[in-house]
Subunit: 613 residues, 2 copies
């Protein structure tokens, strides 16, 4: 029943051979790798606006310079990753690059930063997408959490079903976004040009609540840097490009960076020079679109395409997070189950963990992008810095022709992103960055403890040095705890006699006087087998049974532990379980988990007896 429902929802299982490889041309690759990068303007713009508006028109006047600065940073980071793509044609994720060049610990720090990033990309993209659509349909504004969770559910199910992230379906929102947004920016530029210099922000900006300080500008810059998220995506996926892989990937990266820059700098410039401001229930991008396009269908198309590309961006996390988890898991830093391919050949456990964590973040932060952003930027720039530093070391090691210029470019990238990291961490510390700064080392310690455990287990399971078992094992002694003389124990007694000549039944008397009848019946059926009656002062079955087993083992002193046969009846319907004491289960658990110092463990033999109705 449950299986049938699962198959309906997620599809029937796929055989392992069905796992294929798809190579992407540049058009499809751009659609596959750019949604996160392109869509990040949605929240980056919003953050800069919210950061500056409290200083009124003077504050908002800083948007353009900040936008240009971030555009410059974008250029540096893009050049850095262009080199990573050529340096690591097999895929150079931050974890790989940092671990290989800087060592395990920096690698793990990068990995933890990446995992936090993917999680926040999912959460922030969803909430920002919902905010885009709720700006157009204000009736949705109070229900943003619910709408975001529904979107999350749809994306999760699609991914568990094994959605092809490279599929055509995914490219539609990306190109829709590009082919609506770019013309809108052009229209805005024309409007600005034809209108000539306007009164601008002085007329429209709300009154200043705070003076314009350099701290305030740094804050706005720090959160605006989230515009750069997603730029590293292509460097992870070089092998999926058509050959020549690195060349095609590099060109795609350049195109993507140029588009990102145009979208970001263009929209932020138009916002400022058209003097656009937004109320509390609308995003600044929505206000810009409304200003350029009016309240017509064009505006609604823009908002819907913004929402769609943000949803696709969230979706990329559902490919990336489980993939990084699986890599870490293969290296022994995360539970092995994360490498298990599910029925549909996806890393189902990783998808589920990401979905649950994303849902929790959305609920905890009330579906508010602005509240989530401070957690976001720290991880992004930490991964950037480690990856770029790793590349510098990489070039120093290789010393190929022209390595100095390559090392210089990555070095500039590393320094620029490191400075940004410090600015972000310091200026947003109290607003939420502290959470990420706290979580990252916890994750790293967790990774290390998990690997330690696996190594310990490996040592303990090693056959090395074990003498071959020469002496034949003597047949076991057997003890059968019974709850009475009934049909359910017959198989158990039969089996016991088939494997051992030393069989003892045990009855634990809970209600004084009940043993007499049981003994009498036992003698009638199995006159040759001994039945021991134990008293239970505290109405527990486990205690007296364990004591009895220990005592007889000690008395026999043959180096063996008696095997315990447990007759267990299995009800015909699940709810019947509730009507029976879970005694067999309790005994099993107590016996299995009872720790012994060394040597042979107690064997537990389960003899099911199925009830028919």
């Amino acid at each position: 029943m449950i299986n049938r429902f699962k198959h309906l929802l997620l599809g029937t299982p796929l055989p392992t051979q069905a796992m294929g490889e798809v190579r992407l041309n540049k058009i499809r690759a751009l659609a596959a790798f750019s949604p996160d990068a392109l869509s990040s303007i949605a929240y980056a713009n919003q953050e800069i606006y919210l950061g500056l508006v409290i200083a009124g028109s003077a504050g908002l006047g800083m948007a353009w310079p900040i936008g240009l600065a971030i555009g410059g940073l974008l250029l540096i980071v893009a050049l850095s990753y262009y080199q990573t793509i050529h340096g690591y044609p097999l895929g150079g994720g931050s974890y790989t690059v940092a671990r290989e060049n800087l060592g395990t610990l920096p690698g793990l720090i990068a990995a933890s930063a990446l995992m936090v990033d993917y999680l926040l990309t999912a959460a922030v993209s969803l909430t920002a997408g919902v905010e885009a659509i709720a700006s157009a349909f204000p009736v949705l504004w109070p229900h943003r959490v619910a709408v975001a969770l529904v979107l999350l559910l749809v994306i999760t199910l699609a991914n568990l079903r094994g959605l092809q992230e490279t599929g055509t379906l995914m490219s539609i929102p990306v190109y829709l976004f590009l082919f609506t947004y770019m013309p809108m920016l052009v229209a805005g530029a024309l409007k600005l040009y034809s209108a000539g210099p306007t009164a601008g922000l002085e007329a429209t900006a709300p009154t200043s609540l705070q003076p314009l300080t350099s701290i305030l500008v740094l804050h706005a810059f720090a959160t605006g840097c989230t515009a750069l998220t997603g730029i590293e995506a292509i460097s992870n996926g070089v092998p999926t490009f058509k050959p020549p892989e690195s060349k095609n990937a590099g060109r795609t990266l350049i195109v993507m960076a140029v588009l990102m820059g145009l979208l970001f700098v263009g929209s932020i410039g138009l916002t400022q020079f058209l003097g656009v401001t937004a109320g509390p229930d609308e995003t600044i991008l929505s206000a810009l679109a409304r200003r350029i396009l009016g309240n017509g269908p064009g505006y609604f198309v823009i908002q819907i395409s913004t929402m769609l590309i943000l949803a696709v961006a969230a979706n990329t996390s559902f490919a990336d997070f489980p993939r990084v988890s699986a890599i870490l898991s293969k290296d022994g830093f995360l539970p092995r189950q994360l490498t298990n391919l599910g029925d549909r050949l996806v890393f189902a456990n990783g998808i589920i963990i990401l979905a649950v964590a994303t849902g929790a973040l959305i609920i905890l932060f009330g579906g508010d992008t602005h509240a989530l952003i401070p957690l976001f930027a720290v991880g992004v720039f930490l991964a950037f810095t480690l990856s770029q530093s790793g590349m510098v070391v990489h070039w120093f090691k290789l010393r190929q022709p022209g390595w100095q210029i390559k090392a210089l470019i990555n070095g500039v990238g590393a320094i620029a992103t490191a400075i940004t990291l410090l600015v972000v961490a310091a200026s947003k510390f109290t607003e939420g960055a502290w959470i990420t700064i706290l979580v990252l080392p916890i994750l790293v310690v967790g990774f290390l403890r998990i690997r330690k455990h696996y190594r310990e287990v490996g040592k303990q399971l090693s056959m090395r040095g074990l003498p071959p078992s020469l002496r034949p094992f003597p047949p076991p002694r057997v003890v059968i705890p019974i709850s009475g003389v009934h049909r359910g124990i017959v198989d158990a007694v039969d089996f016991a006699e088939s494997i051992s000549k030393d069989v003892t039944a045990v009855y634990i008397e809970m209600e004084p006087g009940s043993a007499e009848k049981v003994c009498e019946q036992w003698k009638r059926w199995w006159p040759d087998l001994p039945l021991v009656v134990l008293q239970s002062q505290y109405r527990s079955i486990i205690g007296p049974l364990l004591d009895f087993l220990d005592e007889t083992d000690r008395a026999h002193n043959d180096g063996q532990l008696a095997a315990v046969i447990l007759p267990e009846f299995i009800p015909a319907k699940w709810w019947h379980q509730l009507l029976h004491n879970q005694t067999t289960w309790l005994i099993k658990t107590a016996l299995v988990y009872r720790r012994r110092d060394a040597g042979f463990q107690r064997v537990i033999i389960d003899i099911p007896y199925h009830l028919r109705k």
Copy 2:
């Protein structure tokens, strides 16, 4: 660790012999059995007031006649139960009396009514208690749900610890209530007498929102009848009285009924004739006390003693509900676990179920007594009616001297309570009584299905007609699924060889190519034992293993199923469990629950291997 915490909270386990019997004198018996009965004036008064106030002063003028009518009903019911006490000196709960005299089905209806009653007594007493105290301390009013849940938690823990409901501690609130409330009523009467006729309700009552209809009066009467709850308590507990039991119990009942009548009729009369009304954040009894005693310490003592006796009343449910559950469970109508005495010699499962259900009711109904009352009265009067009807049949069967008059008294009781039941059910149907009317038959059907299941199991477990097992059982064939050649499977192989000459190991290849190394290692260690490699196309272990077992069983065709030995390693710390595939557990579950039509079931042998760190 968990055990130590449990012992700290609930006390160390008690031996079964510690179960003693305490006989009560009348003073202590009154304290033990009356809290529910006496405290019910708190919500009954409130309901009558709320029912009438919507019709303004004309409505409130009906309080006194309704109070007198309920007082008369109280007299009839008390006389009826007086007879039950003498007819059933061993304890005549509604379930016992109805089942013995009317049959199983009426007995079960009474039982379900009782269980619902006890549940609602707990919920209503707690919410009414919190309302009493929140009337005195208005800061608590918005937090009534939280305060009620804290009280519930305290009562639950005290009962799990094995609180003696008959203890001295419990009598303090009862006598405190009597010795503060009675003098207050006297003071009120003096005040009324000295002031002479006042302007009364005409001056104070809020304006009428509805005309005074007979429907409205019936509504108020119906909910006011909750004043009678608890009057049956003594009839359940006759054997705990000092001898002569019935006589002492009967006298205690009379005293209790008189006290109930005085409190109820007295308070309702004073409320009306002093023209007392209450705002939305105060109970009418609180308003009455404030009017008589002013805002001084006397008023606060009254409110605290009201809260305390209501808490004690809720506490009686925690003795009664588990007791009735245990009786039903012994008769096979409820899961057997409800008869289990916990560590502290209490029916722990019943207490926990009641606590969870009470908490759920309090939360669902927002801690509002008024919302809960319509669910309450139906159960109470259904149990009354069935119990009294049972008594009529009882007297008809016995035909002792004077049986006619006894039957007449119980007959009047039965008719009066039946009429009240109809009034309550009809007039409060849409306000919540429908829930109870829906739940009762569901419970009864549940009882019957549970008994049917136990009877089926009894039949299937019967040894009757089973031929004695003469033929010696052949030694079993054994299959060992292995995940690799490691230390954890050595014990399993050793044990397998000790019980069987036909041992096969099985390796399921998940990653193509992994089997080769395993085969080679296996041959090195156990050259004489066969290892079978199975392919798993869908990355499942269970499927191929089950297929293999079925096939070999069919191939051998010896009427036996191969026993499966499962090597299982047990991690040293609980969180290590998360780092391992739960494969052994999955295989175990699949094998145990696999239903076979008849004959011998598959034996599962569990060989634990404990990891040291």
